[in-house]
Symmetry: C5
Subunit: 294 residues, 5 copies
């Protein structure tokens, strides 16, 4: 059975194969658009599938961090042929194809497709673990030092999880389709593998939900820290104001060009007045503390 591996959906070879195996023009068009979605469409003659393997690439916006990147693989699987189209520079796709070549059997395209899908889904786990690590780090940092950079990371991860979740939801629907659709290339023998894949994707989606919960926790911690710190700073300001008030009032009084103030002529006037000021300040602070206002 022939297995054609193309590196690019725009390869004119695909047009030849389309003619030879009667591929539907709509599927060709799908394979050639940018931004394809994960999907499976089964016709009488063959099953057309698009998957989106993930790999971690350096994040251009956050030096030192990694982010998930998806590069699609298109599969046309008939009873007696297999066409795969994928970017040969993506290590995830290459790993999936290599395992299919090693463990699969060239006479059974259903087995090959199951193996490719299984490897692709298994390789989502490192991406999820990567997010787990980053969220753990953020949670540790947010209590110690709630800086706006943490917020940026929270929202960056949230955004990446939205994309990842969409790919996973579509992959779950696709593997459900492969189980249920009577036309699908997957035969009874390979059904358990696809069912296993479905379970894995469901668990991955569960993890993504947990991660969203944890990110929301982190966000709540951050926001409550900011309110808390504002409260602390305003309290400091109020204590400063409390300390300043008697000094302002009393030094103001004695700074006036008026007559008749006590101690005005006393040789130890300054000492008396400063003593009274300090006493008043202490009393005021004690009173505010007592009233639970500070």
């Amino acid at each position: 059975m022939p297995w054609y591996q193309l590196d690019d959906a725009n390869d004119p070879k695909l047009d030849e194969l389309a003619k030879q195996y009667n591929l539907h023009p709509l599927h060709l068009e799908d394979a050639r658009t940018h931004d394809e979605s994960v999907m499976v469409d089964s016709g009488a003659a063959y099953t057309f599938a698009v998957f989106k393997p993930v790999r971690l690439i350096p994040d251009p916006d956050n030096p030192g961090e990694q982010m998930p990147s998806f590069s699609p693989i298109d599969i046309f699987a008939g009873k007696d042929f297999l066409i795969t189209i994928s970017d040969p520079t993506c290590p995830t796709t290459e790993q999936a194809l290599a395992r299919a070549r090693r463990d699969g059997d060239d006479e059974h395209p259903a087995k090959l497709v199951s193996l490719i899908l299984d490897t692709i889904v298994d390789l989502y786990f490192p991406a999820i673990d990567h997010f787990d690590d980053r969220i753990d780090q953020l949670e540790d940092k947010v209590f110690d030092d709630p800086s706006p950079e943490i917020l940026q990371s929270v929202f960056a991860i949230k955004r990446e999880l939205i994309d990842l979740r969409r790919v996973l939801v579509n992959t779950r629907d696709a593997s459900l389709h492969l189980q249920r659709d009577p036309n699908t290339i997957i035969d009874a023998e390979n059904q358990p593998y696809v069912r296993d894949t479905y379970d894995h994707v469901a668990r991955l989606l569960d993890s993504v939900e947990t991660q969203r919960d944890l990110l929301n926790n982190t966000l709540d911690i951050y926001l409550s820290s900011v309110s808390n710190r504002t409260n602390e700073v305003v309290k400091v300001l109020t204590i400063l104001g409390t300390v300043a008030l008697p000094a302002i009032a009393i030094s103001g009084i004695y700074g006036m060009n008026l007559k008749g103030l006590p101690f005005e002529e006393s040789p130890h006037g300054a000492e008396w007045i400063i003593g009274i000021t300090i006493l008043l300040t202490a009393l005021l602070l004690y009173f505010l503390r007592r009233m639970n206002w500070l």
Copy 2:
């Protein structure tokens, strides 16, 4: 087979056609009300459908921005006639009708209706892309400069998405009805097209949900930035207060008309006192910083 295209539901020609083809008065009434909803109603003799093609028009409130606008198309599709009523100035509707005329077959109204619906749904994608672009811009801006204008844009887009989502939900229900209802004009041959349309609308709705998530993220970023900036500004105010406190207290003391203050008679008194003030200020700032209060 005759295809009547009317520009306005109030055209008296519609009344003639209603008599000729036995159109239901309720459907005429629906076609003539403002603010129709997307819907499909299939009777024994014909299928009545209302769709709402979208186009982007300049937003009167935000010069330089575009907003989606909907102009309805009413369709009466019988086995041997087709009546379409649409605003001829709407380019989206015109494009849908033009494609139906070009690719359709005058003897098969089911094909014509499928083509019109398919074109209408395909033309929702640019509107979604338009929102994607605007949300991307907002996300970029909100971190750099969280101004209230961003907030206005967030809520404006939220409102537009509410409208778009409602139209899409109704379109999804309408295409489901066209698939399931036994009376519908759509025959088995054209079912795959309607099913494809249904998938596209489902994906569009998925995108709208993602966009709502992203807008909520942007809103959270904005709100946390405002709290953060308030915190920053209060901190600056407190630092100013800290700097002012020793100056106020000491200059107050020496401004008093009292006797017995140290350095009062010293020729370098001012220098000593200013030096002491600066030293106290520095100590106070260091102490507050040390206590993590600033």
Copy 3:
């Protein structure tokens, strides 16, 4: 066929009719309680229904505003009798009964009940439109002038929507019951009308959901405006503090009864010192602005 219209469920006439037509005591009790819920209960002999037509009355708490008010109508519809109990001063109920009398057929209680329900549901639309208008007004005002009155209106409308939504949900369930229950008075001929009613109620509920979304938007806008304005006011306060600081420090220094200050004896001392103060203030403001702290 006799049609009895009573103005009050406590009318002793109802007891006579109950005896004559074998009405269930539980239904009588329901009709006579205050605060009945919308419901339909179908027995072998007759269908008992409670609906809650809406009308807009002046809002006692908000002069110049209107609010929805519900006055129930009780219906006992048997094969050969119809009993309706409703407040004759409610224009909505009167309109429903008048239309039933005009378009209905005295021999078909099913038709009469369908017409009454249809009119009642159609008259919910003005109430929804009324809320749409008020929410539009609030949205316009909240950006220009976010006052606490807007908040009060938001919560007042939210509360009214909770009530309206509950009535609509129960009406939807009641019309579903009228479609599905084998005992119901509604015959096959009148089923399409009830189905149409069901669709209208579903659309009304959809509008209520949209309105709740919009109110939540308005609330978010209000809250973010308040934070924003606090931020602005604190900023003004900080600028005042910044302007005051050099004046306080320098005038304090020169107000001290000390010797050895520069310019103390200069004839243009005041000018020099004021100039230096203004310069320092400008530098401080520039520095804070530069550091993005204001």
Copy 4:
């Protein structure tokens, strides 16, 4: 048919009855644990049910307020025996048992169980009305005087509603079980009563949801009031600062021991300077107001 009423599940009489009627040890254990959940379990020989009637007791934490309290009733209902175990000091349970004794028929335990359940469910309505009243009071107060005590009440009611809701959800499930389970003691004749109970519990749960919505509204109102008041207070502080600024600056200037200030020697100098200060203050306030900063 014997009906045994025990006051305490630890009564040794229960062990005798257990032996006589072959009661399951698991059920005995359930009846004897504290903190039983509402449940129904039907075996071949008898139905075991736990309900939780509610009554209002004085709230120990809020003098003058009432709170719901639950005291369980255990029922073993066989074809030819009925055992009820309930606290004789609970008026709600007593009322339920009294009504069963009065309206029931000793030969039909199904009728007795239906009556007991019906009374228990009817007596939830006063508890719900009690919450309605308290929430109404809170809503009235929160606009006039948003004090932290309101917040405490909101959260206290929220917590009580969580408990009430759990009991109601379990009661709904129990009455569904009594309708559906083929082994249940409830015969066809008494099914309508249980169905009616189910409808009542569903309506009670609907009310609890509405009350949670209203409490969330009250919470939102409280929180927005606090932000609003902070904003108001900061505004007052800023106005004070604005008023103080020219006085501080100008009196500072004229307090300096310098020469060359205008009006210094003028006999009406003080009047001029005070006039200029007031004028500057007014201009500053006008300017800030104009710029919409206050």
Copy 5:
């Protein structure tokens, strides 16, 4: 019937048993990975199950507190053999195995598995009670003294509940699988036990939901307390400012080196001026209070 208990999945004895009983390599791999999920997989020959018993261990981050810890148990249950793999130092697992040994019957692995699962689920209740106690304590403390430590505890418990909830959801799915799957080892006789387990897990999950609600309440209380306290502190600051304003203005005026001020020469000038200042301060405070600005 042999029952093999291994302490570690890496025991080479497991490989022997795998060969003897034809265990699936995928199951061996699962048993040997870290971080297994709760799951049940039934094949023709045996049922493979992973459960996660909980126990409370001292929390390393919070001295004096406890936290739940999970140590998995793997079960291979065939018709004529039972293999259990569990950490012998975990008291929960030991208790489950001990009860199975005592109450079970060596010839019925189904009974043994039911007993193990039942004990494991029963031992989740103390963990839930533990959280109930901690949440109660937090709720008591948050009103009296809303410190950031409470917040840390809230989020720590939230995180632990996320983990516990995930284990419970999987356990619920596993016990559903044991009820429904035709291949499962659980025979009709033991079905009621598994059904009972399912009910318990559902109730546990219900409690976890309630606890999440209560934690959200606590978080809301904390956040509103912080806003409230900020408001209080700002109010104190504003009162200080109000008190300072007349003193600053009047002492400033009389501190100026100007002529023509009233009382300047009066022997009781100081008394007059101080009296006027106090009066003005009182009037200002009264006015602000009257305007409801403080």
